[in-house]
Structure formats: C-alpha cells, structure tokens
Amino acid sequence: MKNNNKNCCKQKPIIKLPAGKKLCNTHFTEYFENKVFKTIRQFDLIGKEENLGIALSGGKDSLTLLHLLNKLSKQNKKIKLTAILIDEGIKGYRGKTTEIAKKFCKKNKVPLKIYSFEEEFGISLDDMLKTLDVKPCTICGIFRRYLLNKKSKELKFTKLATGHNLDDETQSILMNQFKNNIQASARLGPKSGVKDNKNFVQRIKPLYLCAEKEVATYAFVNNLLDNFTECPNILKSYRAQVRDMLNNFELKNEGTKHAIANSFLDILPKLKEKFKDGKINFCKKCGEPSAKEKCNKCKLIDKMKKSEKK
C-alpha cells in the first residue's frame, strides 16, 4: 500500500483523526491507549493505591474502560477493580447488556456486583414510567445516581470510573447551556464531585477526551464490540436531539467537539469555584445527600405511592 504522508505507515489505515492523519490498527491502538493513560495522569484520576469501582453497562464505552483499567490493574496490584451494574428494568434492553457484562467480567476475572431498581426500590423503571409523567432519562438518572453513590460507599470504593466519552461530555455541556443550567456544568469534567467527602464517591472519566467513534473503533479491533443495543427510552430524550445536532455540526466543522471540551476545561475551575459545595444537607427520609429536605428519589417514590392509592 502506498504510504502518503497522511498515513502512519504502510499498513492499511482504519481511522482518520480530525487532524487528517490516518492510523493503522497497531498505531491506532497505541494512540488510543496512550491518550487514555495520559488523561488519567493529566487530571490525576487514579492514584497508586485504589479500590476502584467501574460503572458497567455492557456497552462499548464501559467495556473499553474496564478492558483498559484491567491492564492498569495488572501492572499495579494495588489498584483493585470491581464492576458495578445497575439493572433499571428496561425490557428488551438491559437483559442483553447484563449478559454481555457478566460474560466479560467472568472472562477477565473482574468481580461484578449487580443491583436492580426492582430489588432496591421495589419497582422497575418500566413500571415507574406507567405511573409517573416524567421523562424516562430524568427518572432513570436520579435513581441510577442515587444507587451508584450508595453502593459505591457500601463497597468502600475510593473512586467510581464511568465510561463517559468526549461526545457524552460535549452533549452535557451544551444541554446545560441550552437549559440555562450552568450550575450542573460545574459538576462535569474528567473528575467530578468532591475529594475526601465521605458522602460522595468521586467519579472519574478516563475516556473524557476520546470521541465516540474512536472508542467504538478501539472496541471493534479489540473484540469488545457486541451486537448493537439501544435503550428504547433514549430516542425520546433531549440528549438524542443535542447528539444528532452536534454530529451534524461536527461533520461540517471537524474538531468542534474537541473545541467545546477544551474551552470548557479552561473555564471549569471558575465554575467549580463559583458553585463550590457549601453545607451538604441530607434527605430526611433516606439519609442520602440532598439539596433539599427530601431528595428527588424519595419525592418520586412518594409521588408513585400517592398515585397508586388513587
């Protein structure tokens, strides 16, 4: 094969980077892994000794994350990994991804903890949606965040790693901007939450600077990509609208997502300073951290109970 100056070598390229460079399988794998490990170092995401939780969904992002952190853990035995999966109870979706996650963890000898809405709250997300007139992703987010934080504390995780990538982050930045909710953006970034606060387990995003297509390409060449599964609820979401808009814009203006994330990282310290956590309140009902007297999760449960009585 002809090696023009845009190709990394004589091997057939499998990806074209936004700067125009085309990489083969070997060089892309090296580039991608270096990028993730550099992100970990640059933002000080993982220390020399950790009891790391990994939020696993069975999708390409979290499987790629677990695959890479497992490499790190093999090099440093003081980094202990446990995968945690939340089964919301979404018919036709979560069952498939749970099986993929179980298979992956068994093969890679990573302990996997599974918690379900049904067992923890007595009701699945599908059934919640029959009662509550709230957008699915909003409810799901509230209950998932609550459960992930609660279980991460019980399992004594030092940090919780999530598979959020560049696309997820830039969508969130724009969504908060469009909804005039800058305070929520102060909680974004490669490392969210507050360190050394016993009420919250800090979350880290090692794939922060990796575009979705890069993650999928890495997952493909490393046999981490299973059959495509899509949550039926995402099609109704605000995020899906922003995602499609951003992808159309990126197609015409390459580098837009990186520009959004990089300019956001510049202002993030100021946002964190402006909205730094003051006094933390606790929900009177469940005892978990909450901005108000009763947390959103407990408010929604009460609402469901009331509508059941009617």
Binding site: G59, D61, N165, K213, E230, I234
Partner: protein, 68 residues
C-alpha cells in the same frame, strides 16, 4: 451494482443500488447516515470512507452512538 449491506442499528440487511466505482462515502450518503456515527467494515475489517466497493463485498455498518 447492487450491494448487500447489514446495518446493525436497524438489525437488518438492505440491498442498496449503487453506480460502479462507488465509495463508502457514497454509500453512507445514499443511506442518509452521518459517517461520524458509524464504522464500516468489509469482510470484518474496518474501511475508510474513500474505499471503493464492489458487489461481492460483505459490508457491515456498525453504529457507534451510545445506546443508553
């Protein structure tokens, strides 16, 4: 030429009619798919947008967008 293409997001094989000497880019345009949202494989190897296609190729279009 007629090309058989499997699109995983729709979980079905489609037959797409293309002029000879068509590329992956032309195929995605014809199917109205944003190339940022997919990777395309030929005989289980990833190919780039400028790759030319022929009717004997086993083409898969793999969606990269987060499923949930």
């Amino acid at each position: 030429m007629k090309l058989k293409v499997f699109y995983d997001r729709e979980n079905k094989e489609k037959t797409i009619e293309l002029d000879g000497n068509m590329s992956v880019k032309d195929l995605l345009e014809k199917m109205n798919i944003n190339p940022i949202t997919v990777i395309v494989s030929k005989n289980d190897n990833i190919i780039l947008e400028d790759e030319k296609l022929n009717d004997k190729d086993d083409i898969k279009i793999i969606s990269v967008i987060s499923g949930g």
